[in-house]
Symmetry: C2
């Protein structure tokens, strides 16, 4: 049986895939249970600075028991929207799950990024059985809508964290500064570029390729025109985009 | 490591589980891929008259290839809503997938029920590679929100189709009659009992335990106070509920 023809991976596919990974806060996790069944459960998620998926799991849950028994997992990240659910992009990310101790998650900046992306997780991150899990990506299958199938490798999804170490170091301060002093620009980004409804938009995450924003349950992501590696370049691109958004008014 | 304490299954848990199965139109499907990974993909779904999950899959898709290799699957049906995604009920249904020929799906009434529940599926049901799949349920894990875990058996999810054969035979006519002559009652059910927004509500499915309705992308399910086994009992309960809804106005 022939499978759906796989299209050659291009920058549009990579951008769709990276957006799905970066904006998603709740995903479907596949683990292998003791009977060898593929067990699908709901999980919250965020990404490390380089795009690696992060989960926060309860030690009392079936998926944690399963991934301790077999590290092979997949994660379905799907865009929801009106009409036929199969018309929207989604991606299955395959990889190996690695449970982290809290000190390690903290050291890697995962804890801060996770709680900024999933504010409700603050309610249980401190409970004794909860742990962060990193999904070390092996491959991914992107479905960008009917007939648009792509097979991706880790380099299609991840960015070079080493090249952006300076930006990573300033992420927390940059987000605080945007939220404290540039609320109007955040609203412009969300409403003009991301076509979201107006609201109290605030920044929740930042990486070399974009800025994540949230207003209540609405989430938006502003993709940068080109990767940004330090605070100076970040200020430049954000100022430029704010000017463009105002001009578009 | 102790797992989350499992609560004894009660009627409230069964009602939540059955509602999730009956109202869901898009679910996450777990299959086993050739490398033994649990592969999670997006699928549309409906239910057979007795509650058995039905899928409509493309022969060109990865999940179809996977379930031909190994019938073990699970299906995550989740209620979405505002705030923390983990605060809403969801269920992982484990079972064995069985691919059906179109004539068999038609004979069992699956085709009609599927297309009524997923109108967009009419666009591809006729394509040569598409097939209906029945998930023969083995067990299910229900999470009704934090600390509310239940392990369910098939009898907790399915109803006795044999006892309701008369209702099954009249389902299509009953739905057409409701949509043609009782649009006002459908709106009352959706808006008063299901607390949905007003809209052009129409009936899409009927089974011994409830009535499914849709208005655009909004879906609602009216659970009957007690199981209904034939057209006479159905007319009685629908009339009674319409009167109660009017009185509540």
């Amino acid at each position: 049986m022939a499978l759906e023809p796989i299209r050659p991976t291009d920058d549009t596919a990579r951008a769709t895939a990276r957006r799905l990974l970066r904006i998603t806060a709740a995903a479907s996790l596949g683990t292998l249970d003791a009977e060898g069944f593929p067990a699908v459960t709901l999980t919250t998620m965020a990404t490390a600075f380089d795009g690696t998926p992060l989960l926060l799991v309860s030690g009392l849950s079936a998926h944690t028991r399963n991934l301790k028994g077999d590290t092979r997992v997949s994660l379905l990240v799907a865009q929801t929207g009106r009409g036929d659910p199969l018309a929207h992009p989604r991606m299955s990310v395959f990889g190996h799950a690695e449970i982290l101790e809290h000190a390690e998650a903290e050291r890697l900046g995962f804890t801060r990024r996770y709680l900024a992306h999933n504010q409700k997780a603050a309610l249980y991150v401190g409970l004794p059985d909860f742990r962060f899990v990193r999904i070390n990506i092996a491959r991914a299958s992107l479905n960008g809508g009917f007939g648009k199938a792509y097979e991706l490798v880790p380099a299609d999804l991840l960015c070079d964290a080493a090249a952006s170490a300076d930006l990573a170091a300033t992420e927390a301060d940059a987000i605080a500064h945007l939220n404290d002093d540039h609320a109007e620009a955040l609203s412009l980004y969300a409403e003009r570029f991301c076509r979201m409804e107006s609201g109290r938009w605030r920044a929740t995450g930042l990486d070399p390729e974009g800025l994540n924003m949230q207003a209540g349950d609405q989430r938006a992501r502003l993709a940068f025109p080109a990767p940004v590696h330090d605070g100076t370049a970040l200020r430049h691109v954000l100022k430029q985009l704010a000017m463009e958004a105002r001009d578009a008014a």
